[in-house]
Structures are given as structure tokens and as C-alpha cells.
């Protein structure tokens, strides 16, 4: 079998090896470089998405927490407002009740006083009448004679009237 010399330039061999290199370049590009690069890009975008999701979730958590805190402080305010309102209502109610009670008591006292006055007058009338009867009876008995009832009655009445008025004046 023949051999080439150690140094023998052959353009067709060169062309063949050049074509080989170009072919290998295409092979490497298609079967190694592109798939790996695509995979790396996909991985990068997936990681970016994960990071974005995490950031979004964190932001949401922070805003939620803020909202809760706001709500919480609002709730305390509300509670104190409710309490204050209740106290106010209770106070006004208390005053109302006390006022009402006072008024009632005053009314009762007034009525009682009026009743008492009425009773007093009534009693006075009764006493007056009784005295008239008693004095009529007494005078009948003492005089022993029937005096004309009408005359006597007028007399006694004027007398009693005088007593009553004098009494009242006293």
C-alpha cells in the first residue's frame, strides 16, 4: 500500500477537511449548542418566573398585613367609639330616668299635698256640720222648746260662720 509523503499538500484533501469542519460546526450547533442554549434559556425564564411569583406573593403578604393592621387599629377605635356611645346613651338615659323619677315624686307629693288639703277641708266641713248639729241639739235640749227651725238655723249658721272664719283667721 502506498503512503503519502510526510509533507504533501493536496487541495482536495484540504477542501475535504474544510468541509468536515463546517459540517461538524453545523452538527455541534444543531445537536449540542442550540438544545443546551434553549434549555438554559427556558430554565432562566422559569427561575425568573419563580422569583417574580415569590416577589408578588411577598408584596401581597405585606399589603395584606398592612390592611389587617389598619383594620385592627380601626377596630380598637370603633370599640372605644361604641363604648363611648354606650356610655353617653347610658348617661342620658340615667339622667332621663332620674329626672322622670324626680318629676313623678314631685307629682306624687303635690297630689298628696292636694289630697291632704282636700281632706283637711272635708274634715273641717264635717266638723262644722257636726258642731251645728250638736249645738242645735244642745240648744233644743237646753232651751226646751222648739224654736222655729229656720230662725235658729240662720242664727247658728252666722255664728258658726263667725267661728269658722275666726278659726281660719287664726
Amino acid at each position: 500500500m502506498q503512503s503519502l509523503d510526510v509533507i504533501s499538500v493536496n487541495i482536495w484533501q484540504m477542501a475535504a477537511s474544510l468541509a468536515n469542519l463546517v459540517l461538524l460546526f453545523l452538527i455541534v450547533k444543531k445537536f449540542l449548542y442550540k438544545p443546551v442554549k434553549n434549555m438554559l434559556n427556558e430554565r432562566r425564564s422559569a427561575i425568573d418566573n419563580d422569583y417574580k411569583d415569590a416577589a408578588d406573593a411577598k408584596e401581597k403578604a405585606v399589603s395584606d398585613m398592612k390592611a389587617y393592621e389598619e383594620k385592627l387599629s380601626g377596630a380598637a377605635d370603633e370599640a372605644s367609639a361604641i363604648l363611648k356611645g354606650a356610655v353617653d346613651v347610658a348617661k342620658s338615659r340615667e339622667k332621663e330616668i332620674i329626672d322622670g323619677a324626680n318629676e313623678k315624686a314631685r307629682g306624687i307629693i303635690k297630689r298628696a299635698e292636694a289630697d291632704a288639703l282636700l281632706e283637711k277641708q272635708k274634715a273641717r266641713e264635717d266638723i262644722k256640720r257636726e258642731i251645728v248639729e250638736v249645738s242645735t241639739l244642745l240648744s233644743e235640749k237646753m232651751l226646751g222648746r222648739e224654736i222655729s227651725a229656720d230662725d235658729h238655723r240662720d242664727l247658728i249658721d252666722s255664728f258658726i260662720e263667725g267661728i269658722g272664719n275666726g278659726d281660719e283667721a287664726n
Binding site: 500500500m1 502506498q2 503512503s3 503519502l4 509523503d5 510526510v6 509533507i7 504533501s8 499538500v9 493536496n10 487541495i11 482536495w12 484533501q13 484540504m14 477542501a15 475535504a16 477537511s17 474544510l18 468541509a19 468536515n20 469542519l21 463546517v22 459540517l23 461538524l24 460546526f25 452538527i27 455541534v28 450547533k29 445537536f31 449540542l32 449548542y33 438544545p35 443546551v36 442554549k37 434549555m39 438554559l40 427556558e42 430554565r43 422559569a46
Partner: protein
């Protein structure tokens, strides 16, 4: 699910076979066709057959066949490490694929800039082709990189790329770049331009070939030494290859493994340097902005 696993495994096995069978076939071919060695013989690649072509005949040599073997193996390798590629990196081989792509990507960006980011697959293929071609000598096959034509073809491609990127700023700027820094240096500039691919080809080819030559010389010398010392002994004792055991293996680590990988790296580095160095970035940008403003004016 199980059927899918089975199919996956079958494809895996086929790809592994794709990576190993061509090398085994190459070794078989080598064993079947190699003439018995006699004495010190340093020749080029053996010719299997010749295709008549215009200008020059095209001899299909060992280097062509072995290049083909390397290409098939690399295709199998690419398919194997990207097989079952996923975002979650389920397979260990995916780390290798990512490592290769990302390392070469960063190397390219570091040496050539972002404009040449698309050079990564080309640099990967140069590195892989050159390194694996040189490493074929570990299997006892003829390394295609010790053939000037193979490395010369790559250098010509690199030269074409250099010129292409130099022409990006326009043919006038390209012509002008030869007269820099003074017009007197024009012939020297032209010579240095042409010398670039030649020096690249000869550097790579020379390193690999010299390793092979030194290996052959050393093997012969060690054989001579053992026969000189043990030759006087009777019978089969005279034929014991005392010094041929072990010593060539240590040298092979340097000349085949280290030198082969180093030359691949140097070739790739020089490619990056020359292509990026020859590219007149500022003038290209100026021209581009001019073009853009022209288009704006027309619109």
C-alpha cells in the same frame, strides 16, 4: 412509562455504539491493512484509493477515513449528552453538556467580545475535532492532525473567516488596513496576512507529527538498547523488550494526550484572537450608523 424508559435506554445504547463502533472499525481496518513494520519508517497517511479529480487527484487516505470516524463519534457524543435534556437536569450527562457550552461560551465572550457570541459552536467544534483527532493515536490509529492537509483545511477556513470579518467594514477599509502604519510596510503586511493560516497549520501539524516521530525514534532506540544489553543472552531471553515497557507510555502521555489537547486549545485560541483581532469594530459601527441614517433619510 416503562415503555418510554425502555425506548430511552435503547436510544442510549445505540448512541454509545455510535461513539465506540467507528473507533473499533478503524482499529480493525488498521490491523487488516497495515503492512508489517520494518525498521524506522516515518511516512504520511496511507492511501486507500485515489479519486481522479481536476488539478490534483484526491487520495482517500487514512487521515480522511479517521476524520470521518472522529466526526461520527462526535455526532454520537453530541446526541448522547443532549439526550434527555431537561430544565431540571435529571441526567448526569446534562451537566457535561452545560459545562462544555457554558465554558466555551465564556471563553469566547472573554476573548472575542459579545459581537462574536455566535462563534461558540464553531470553537467547540474546532476544539473537539482537533483534540479527538490527536487523541486517536491513543487507539493506535493515524491521527489526522499529523497530516498537513487536514489542519491546512481548517486554517484556510479560519483565514476565510478572518478576511470575512475584516471586509465587514468595506473593501476599501480592508485595502487600507494593509498600508498601516506606513505604506512602506504593505508587502510585509500582505505576507503576514498569508502567513497566519500557514503558521497555524504548521504549528498544529508539526507538534502532532513531531510527537509521532519522536515516539517512533524512541521506540526504535529503546528496542536497540534492550537488544544491546540482553542480546548476548541465549534463546528467547534475547528478545525481551526490557526498555520498551513503560517508558513509551509515559512519553505518550505528553506527546499524545497533553500535546494533542494543548494544540487543540492553542488552535482555538488563535482562531479567536485572529478573527476578533482583525475585526475593525469601530469602523464597522461607524459604517453601520451611517447606513442606518441613510435608510432613515430615504424613509
Amino acid at each position: 412509562m416503562k415503555e418510554k424508559d425502555l425506548r430511552f435506554k435503547i436510544v442510549d445504547i445505540l448512541l454509545v455504539l455510535m461513539m465506540t463502533v467507528p473507533i473499533i472499525l478503524g482499529i480493525v481496518l488498521q490491523v487488516m491493512t497495515e503492512p508489517p513494520a520494518s525498521g524506522v519508517q516515518i511516512t504520511g497517511a496511507r492511501i486507500f484509493f485515489t479519486i481522479p479529480m481536476p488539478l490534483q487527484d484526491f487520495p482517500v487516505t487514512e487521515s480522511q477515513v479517521n476524520s470521518l470516524i472522529v466526526m461520527i463519534v462526535l455526532l454520537g457524543f453530541c446526541l448522547y449528552i443532549t439526550h434527555g435534556l431537561s430544565e431540571k437536569a435529571d441526567l448526569k450527562r446534562q451537566h457535561l453538556a452545560e459545562f462544555i457550552v457554558e465554558k466555551v461560551d465564556s471563553l469566547v465572550k472573554e476573548n472575542m467580545g459579545d459581537f462574536f457570541a455566535s462563534f461558540t459552536p464553531f470553537i467547540i467544534s474546532i476544539l473537539a475535532l482537533s483534540a479527538l483527532s490527536s487523541l486517536l493515536s491513543l487507539f493506535g490509529l493515524y491521527p489526522p492532525t499529523s497530516d498537513i492537509n487536514i489542519v491546512g483545511g481548517w486554517a484556510v477556513l479560519v483565514f476565510v473567516l478572518i478576511t470575512y470579518y475584516k471586509l465587514k467594514a468595506g473593501p476599501l477599509a480592508y485595502m487600507k488596513s494593509f498600508t498601516q502604519p506606513v505604506a512602506l510596510l504593505t508587502p510585509i503586511n500582505i505576507i503576514s496576512e498569508v502567513a497566519t493560516p500557514v503558521s497555524m497549520a504548521f504549528r498544529h501539524y508539526g507538534n502532532v507529527l513531531s510527537g509521532a516521530v519522536i515516539s517512533v525514534l524512541l521506540g526504535t532506540a529503546l528496542g536497540g538498547l534492550s537488544s544491546m544489553i540482553l542480546g548476548k543472552l541465549p534463546g528467547f531471553l534475547a528478545d525481551i523488550p526490557l526498555f520498551q515497557v513503560g517508558i513509551p507510555a509515559v512519553l505518550s502521555i505528553y506527546f499524545d494526550v497533553f500535546s494533542g489537547c494543548l494544540q487543540a486549545f492553542i488552535f482555538a485560541m488563535l482562531t479567536m484572537m485572529y478573527v476578533a483581532g482583525g475585526f475593525p469594530e469601530e469602523e464597522y459601527k461607524k459604517k453601520k450608523s451611517q447606513k442606518a441614517s441613510k435608510i432613515k433619510k430615504i424613509n
